[in-house]
């Protein structure tokens, strides 16, 4: 199940919560479609640089981290994302960057990084490699 909620207390950020991570990549792809639908239904909001940022969570998050993510990402431009490299449980950024990332990560299994990048190869290394491959600017927390 996906759940979308928006924080309104002066710090607007759209949060997608993924509860079942068995098929994470498919869920991410579904979220990308939801964001794109939103872009096409309310173009004014999403073409602007100050569009509310998107946070996708697929794990537990420490209290207060939402505020910190909002502060870090509020000035992000269309090609910037913030990745959690320690727990790999969330990604945040501009909706354009998020939809580019989440919309293609579904098929990541079809693409292998260059051999030199495969040691050590784990989920986060692959995600960062893929984010770079899409020409997104990656910030890490």
């Amino acid at each position: 199940m996906l759940e979308l909620k928006t924080i309104h207390d002066g710090k607007p950020i759209n949060i997608f919560q993924i509860y079942n991570t068995e098929d994470l990549y498919t869920k991410l792809s579904e979220i990308s479609l939801k964001i794109e639908n939103r872009m096409l239904s309310k173009p004014y909001i999403w073409t602007n640089s100050v569009a509310p940022k998107v946070l996708i969570m697929w794990g537990e998050m420490q209290g207060g981290l939402h505020d910190r993510i909002f502060d870090l990402t509020k000035d992000y431009r269309g090609d910037e994302v913030l990745l959690d490299v320690y727990n790999t449980t969330w990604i945040a950024g501009h909706p354009r960057a998020i939809t580019k990332w989440a919309g293609t990560v579904f098929k990541l299994k079809d693409v292998e990084p260059a051999r030199s990048l495969q040691h050590p190869i784990d989920d986060i290394a692959r995600l960062i490699w893929w984010t770079n491959r899409l020409n997104l600017k990656v910030h890490v927390l």
Binding site: Y44, K107, D110
Partner: protein, 292 residues
């Protein structure tokens, strides 16, 4: 068996004269692909007629899009540049260019619609298309390859590859105005893409550049260069080491009303074009000869 998709989109134009050839070609050479079709609303044909045209094919998505829906975006496409520009003059300058690249964004918009429909279908049915072809309804397609070779090449397409788009590095000044200034161009008539490349290319309508106010993207008025910029930015290049540097030999011929050549068509007055289209049952809107 690997599955393939065809995106057929744009203005209907001479569709009624060549539709059987188009459908037959891709049904045979792309092994009964799934068709995703989106046309600008026109009197040339109707939804029911198009459905009938595809009655023996795998039509997965069909939509007639209206100008009204698209125009919601048109004035805002450069919103980022307008609000972030250093002064009003630059904002006005960019506003003029936004109208010149109108055809590019209109096609990108249709591709965005088809891409979303395709990915929705992929998720719901847990499949990945091996390739996606971006085709137009006014072009006749053919190949010099034999069927077995062609199918093998399509099935070997890499997921991050766009093939059959010769990126010209030529001084094509008479053909493309933009080539005088930056001569790396790609055709807009046909693209054959791997599965991830198709998603990246087909979502260029909401690509990440706009809000950064990338001047090279926003000031460029050449459709062919804008397409090649997507390819270079994401490195969606031909990966085949075959000659003549194409995986597949896919030939095309733009069919104009009454089978006129490009020179003949371009030499006609707007009124003559209008009358010819009406006499052939083609909505003049398809050639931008009237405003709905």
């Amino acid at each position: 068996m690997k599955r393939h998709a065809v995106f057929l989109r744009g203005n209907l134009r001479t569709w009624n004269y060549i539709k059987n050839d188009i459908i037959k070609f891709f049904d045979v050479y792309h092994e009964q692909p799934d068709w995703y079709v989106c046309f600008w609303n026109s009197d040339t044909s109707t939804i029911a007629e198009i459905k009938n045209d595809f009655k023996n094919s795998n039509l997965k998505f069909l939509k007639f899009e209206t100008d009204h829906n698209y125009q919601r975006f048109d004035s805002r496409i450069l919103e980022g540049a307008h609000t972030r520009g250093p002064d009003k003059k630059i904002a006005e300058f960019l506003g003029i260019f936004s109208k010149v690249v109108y055809p590019y964004w209109r096609l990108a918009y249709l591709d965005q619609i088809l891409s979303m429909a395709k990915r929705k279908y992929e998720i719901e049915n847990n499949i990945n298309y091996q390739s996606v072809v971006f085709a137009r309804p006014d072009i006749s397609y053919s190949t010099t390859s034999d069927l077995e070779d062609y199918v093998r090449c399509i099935n070997e397409l890499h997921s991050m590859e766009i093939t059959n788009t010769k990126s010209s590095n030529l001084r094509m000044g008479k053909f493309s105005e933009g080539c005088k200034y930056d001569n790396y161009v790609s055709p807009d008539t046909l693209l054959v893409t791997g599965n991830i490349a198709s998603d990246i290319f087909s979502t260029r309508f909401i690509d990440i550049d706009f809000t950064d106010g990338s001047l090279t993207r926003l000031m460029n008025w050449d459709v062919h260069q804008l397409i090649s910029m997507i390819k270079t930015k994401y490195q969606l290049f031909e990966l085949a080491d075959t000659e003549p540097n194409y995986r597949v030999s896919l030939l095309l011929d733009i069919i104009r009303p009454d089978n006129l050549s490009m020179d003949e068509w371009n030499s006609m007055s707007k009124k003559s074009k209008y009358e010819l289209c009406v006499s052939l049952g083609i909505d003049p809107y398809d050639y931008n000869l009237t405003i709905k």
